[in-house]
Symmetry: C2
Subunit: 228 residues, 2 copies
C-alpha cells in the first residue's frame, strides 16, 4: 500500500517508520521539503532535525503536501492540530476524495500557556471539522489518545489497553482496524466509539492524559476500558 503521512514531527516520523517497516511505500508530506531538509537544529521538544531521521529512513519519501497526497492511497494526518486544516487544504480535496484519512492529531492550543486547551472542544472536534471540510474523504479518528511510541508498539504498555475509532464510514473503520492490528493491536483492544462526532470524546481525553503524564512521570501508559 501507499501511504501519505502529513507532518514531519515525532508522530509523523514514528508512523512513517512503522509503515515502512511493514513493507508499505510512504511519502511524508510537508509544506516545503527543501526547508524541512535544511533545518539543522533540534525541534522544541529536543528531537533531532528531520534530515537526521531521514538518513536512517532513506526509503521514506519527503514530498510537498499535494505530492504526498497524490502518492498515498491512504492519508494519515499527524500535523499539529491547529494547523491540520491548512495542511489538508494544501494537500487538496482532489487528493483526498474517496481515500481513508486517518486523523491522529489533537487540536491542542498552547497559545494561552500550559496546560494547553483544546480548540475546538465539547461542541465540535478536529475530526468533525476535517470531515466537514473534506466531505469526500473517509475520516477515521484514532490513536490520538496515547503517546506516539505506544501507537506503533502497544506492547510497550504491559497488559490490556485500548485504541478507539470514530468515523462515519464503516469500511474505512474496518480498514483502519486492520492497520492497527498490523501495528500490534489485538482485535479486542479496538473499540469503535461510533460516528465522527464521537471524536469529541476521544479528543477530550487529552487534558486528563496530560495530567496523568505529569502525575505518573512518564508517557508509557494508556487508557484501558475495564469491563468492556
Amino acid at each position: 500500500m501507499r501511504y501519505a503521512v502529513l507532518g514531519t514531527g515525532i508522530v509523523g516520523r514514528t508512523i512513517a517508520a512503522k509503515l515502512a517497516s511493514l513493507g508499505h511505500e510512504v511519502a511524508v508530506g510537508t509544506r516545503d521539503p527543501k526547508a524541512t531538509l535544511a533545518r539543522t537544529e533540534p525541534d522544541g521538544m529536543g528531537n533531532p532535525p528531520f534530515s537526521v531521521w531521514h538518513q536512517d529512513h532513506p526509503r521514506v519519501r519527503l514530498e510537498a503536501f499535494a505530492d504526498a497526497g497524490a502518492f498515498g492511497d491512504t492519508v494519515v494526518n499527524t500535523t499539529s492540530g491547529l494547523a491540520s486544516l491548512d495542511a489538508l487544504g494544501a494537500v487538496g480535496a482532489e487528493n483526498l476524495d474517496g481515500k481513508v484519512l486517518i486523523d491522529i492529531a489533537n487540536p491542542l492550543d498552547f497559545s494561552h500557556g500550559m496546560p494547553p486547551t483544546l480548540d475546538p472542544a465539547n461542541t465540535d472536534s478536529l475530526g468533525e471539522r476535517i470531515q466537514r471540510a473534506f466531505p469526500g474523504a473517509r475520516v477515521v479518528k484514532t490513536l490520538n489518545t496515547m503517546n506516539t511510541h505506544v501507537m506503533v508498539e502497544p506492547s510497550r504498555v504491559a497488559g490490556e489497553h485500548n485504541v478507539f475509532l470514530s468515523g462515519d464510514d464503516e469500511d474505512a473503520k474496518k480498514a483502519v482496524a486492520a492497520l492497527l492490528i498490523a501495528f500490534g493491536w489485538p482485535q479486542p483492544s479496538i473499540i469503535d466509539l461510533g460516528d465522527i462526532t464521537s471524536a469529541r470524546g476521544a479528543e477530550m481525553m487529552l487534558p486528563v492524559w496530560l495530567r496523568l503524564m505529569a502525575a505518573l512521570g512518564h508517557a508509557d501508559f494508556n487508557f484501558h476500558i475495564q469491563g468492556a
Copy 2:
C-alpha cells in the same frame, strides 16, 4: 462521621446508602424536603420517587440544603452539575467553610439535545467554579468518571480500574482517599491528578464515557490507566 449528601437523585441515594451502611450519620440535602417527599412519580430515568427509597433507608435524614450542610462534617455534592452552584449557595458558605466538599457532579448540559455537552469545559470546570465560589471549602473532585453503582462497589467491574482525585488541599485529598478505600477502592487504584484545575480533565472524560456506554450497551465499566 456526619455527612451531608446534596441531591436526592440516584447518585445521592447511592452515596447516602453506602455511607449509612458504613455506620455514618447521613443527611440528604434538598431544596424543599416536603416537596421531595410529596413526589409520587418515578423520575425521568425511571427511578422510584425519593419517598419510596426513604422508606428503605429510614436512618438517613432528609433536610433542607442549609440544615443538611450544618449537620455534615463532610459535604458531598451529587446535584445535577448545572444546578450545583445554586444548591451550594442554598447550603451557604458558612456551612461549607473548612469542610471537605466532595464534588461528584458533572456539568452536563442536555439543553441542546443528545449527546449532552459540558458547561463549563476545557478552560474551566465545575470543580474549579465551586472552589472559587466557596474558597473556604476544601473541594475534592472525585468519582465523577463512572456509573454511580461502580462508585460504591468497585468490584462490580472485574480487574483493576481507577478513581481520580483533584483538589488543592492535600489533607482533604487524603481524607477522601480514606473514604474511597472504605468504599472498596484499593489504595493503588486511587490516582491523584493534581490541583483542582485537573478537574477539567476528569470532567472532560464524560463525553467518551457516554459514547462507551452506548457502544458497550452497559455502564458496568470503568477507566483503567494501564502502565500507571
